[in-house]
Amino acid sequence: MDSNSLLKLRQTYNRTRRWLGLVSLAAGLLAWWLAALYGGLPAFILPSPSDVWTRFLRALVSGELARHTGATLLEVLLGLFFGTTFAIILGYILAKSRVLEQILSPYLVASQAVPLVAIAPLLVLWFGPGIFSKILIVGLIVFFPVLVNTVFGIRAVPPAYYDLMRSLRASRRQILHHLEIPAALPIFFGGLRIGATLSVIGAVVGELVGANTGLGVLINISRGTFDTPMVFVAVFTLIVLALCLYGIVAWMERKFLIWQEHISNN
């Protein structure tokens, strides 16, 4: 088979795959609908898709949904930003200094063993129910995967490239810019993808523990008033939020790592 028809085959395959995904989603929605209609469950246990949709529209019009989503989004973005920034800086330093890594690694490993869900109440107690404690929780949850992947990414730079750069008398900054950053990016992005997904979880956990606004708060309030359709709306919004973040990271990855075979072939 020549490469042209092979390409066509692959395109058809990709299209079929996307189409199948949509069919599967539609089937799931239908199953939910049928279960809500004929399952005999009260609406505050299992609302139907149309209940949820109506509630969604109402929350949208009243601005309630936007307010809570905005708060969560802000926590997520700030937490991601600070967590990632500190993780990159510390990761680079650790990658460069084995001694420092050995000194700090017990703390890092221990900090990872602490379930963040368990200390979230403590953080909210210490830092109050405002946005700061949420940024802290998100930052902490994002920190570790990004840190580890930064360290591994920098360590994985082939020594031969350092030889090349040094034979050209490159400065430390040039080595960082032209070698270490591009070489570490693929592994780094792996960490960022995990971090982005975890960040939404971190924000919601913080909000469930104690906050004034945010989708976690919305879930708590709606649950208290048996407004289950609203709980569904909040949960779906969280899913969309997480997917969007993941999509943005994946998009950046494709953009920056175009040189990688599996990326440009897709």
Binding site: A160, L164, S167, L168, A183, Q260
Partner: protein
């Protein structure tokens, strides 16, 4: 010791290196001394593992010798263009971006660097591949990119580690011609490691032969063949005699 020479750019004195290996160390080079004249083309021959690559790495300043030292005439290390045994292309840079790297490191702006790189693309015969990723290149093509990269910043000293090892015979001979031409035109000093006696004789003014590990200079042979060197030269009696000497020394 080689006879002291009129205008050396590099003097290596008793270079010795031992790599730590957990039991007494791996003795790779032993008392290697030689001079390299300005604009001289020196070939280094020797069995595998005799420390040829290590010698180049010392001269490039990438590793320090355990004993001995080397000095450059200028008192400071010259601008170096190095071709490693592996092409060492950065996979995140396209062909032309890889060739531009040394100029970018010198602070030249990208547009200007690109013009220079384009000339070298033609020199190594890679027109049409400027914007390809290294992963799309054959071994020989990648090595030609590495050669272009080593030449672009007009280095004073070229260190070549089996630069034509992965090329087919035809391309290799074309590259010999090109390298001769560049060397004549730009008057560079070259130290080239090779496994090919023919290549050494065709290109160089002098051949150093290293012994088995620990490497030591076994023969320092002057190649007194007229330049420019022609293809037919390979079938002359004198060429044959020099080749015989080298063959004996390599053992």
């Amino acid at each position: 010791m080689p006879a002291s020479s009129p205008n050396p750019i590099l003097v290596a004195d008793k270079l010795t290196i031992t790599f730590p290996d957990g039991n007494g160390g791996l003795h790779a080079l032993n008392d290697v001394s030689f001079h390299v004249q300005v604009r001289e083309f020196v070939a280094v021959l020797g069995p595998s593992g005799s420390g040829k690559s290590t010698l180049l790495r010392i001269i490039a300043g990438l590793i320090a010798p355990t004993h001995g030292n080397y000095t450059f005439a200028s008192g400071q290390s010259p601008r170096i263009g190095m071709v490693f045994q592996q092409a060492n292309l950065m996979p995140w840079r396209t062909v032309i971006q890889n060739i531009m790297l040394p100029l970018e490191l010198q602070g030249m702006n990208a547009a200007e660097a690109r013009t220079h790189a384009q000339d070298l693309i033609e020199l190594v015969g890679l027109q049409g591949f400027e914007d390809n990723w290294p992963r799309d290149l054959s071994g020989g093509m990648a090595q030609r990119v590495a050669i272009a990269r080593a030449l672009i910043h007009d280095p004073d000293l070229l260190l070549l580690d089996e630069p034509f090892g992965s090329l087919d015979a035809l391309t290799r001979e074309r590259m010999w011609m090109e390298l001769s031409r560049i060397w004549q035109a730009r008057r560079k000093t070259v130290i080239m490691v090779t496994h090919s006696i023919e290549e050494a004789l065709f290109l160089s003014d002098r051949v150093l032969v290293l012994t088995q590990r620990p490497g030591n200079v076994k023969l320092d042979l002057k190649v007194d063949l007229p330049r420019p060197r022609k293809d037919e030269m390979r079938y002359t009696a004198h060429f044959g005699k020099l080749a015989g000497k080298l063959k004996d020394a390599i053992g």
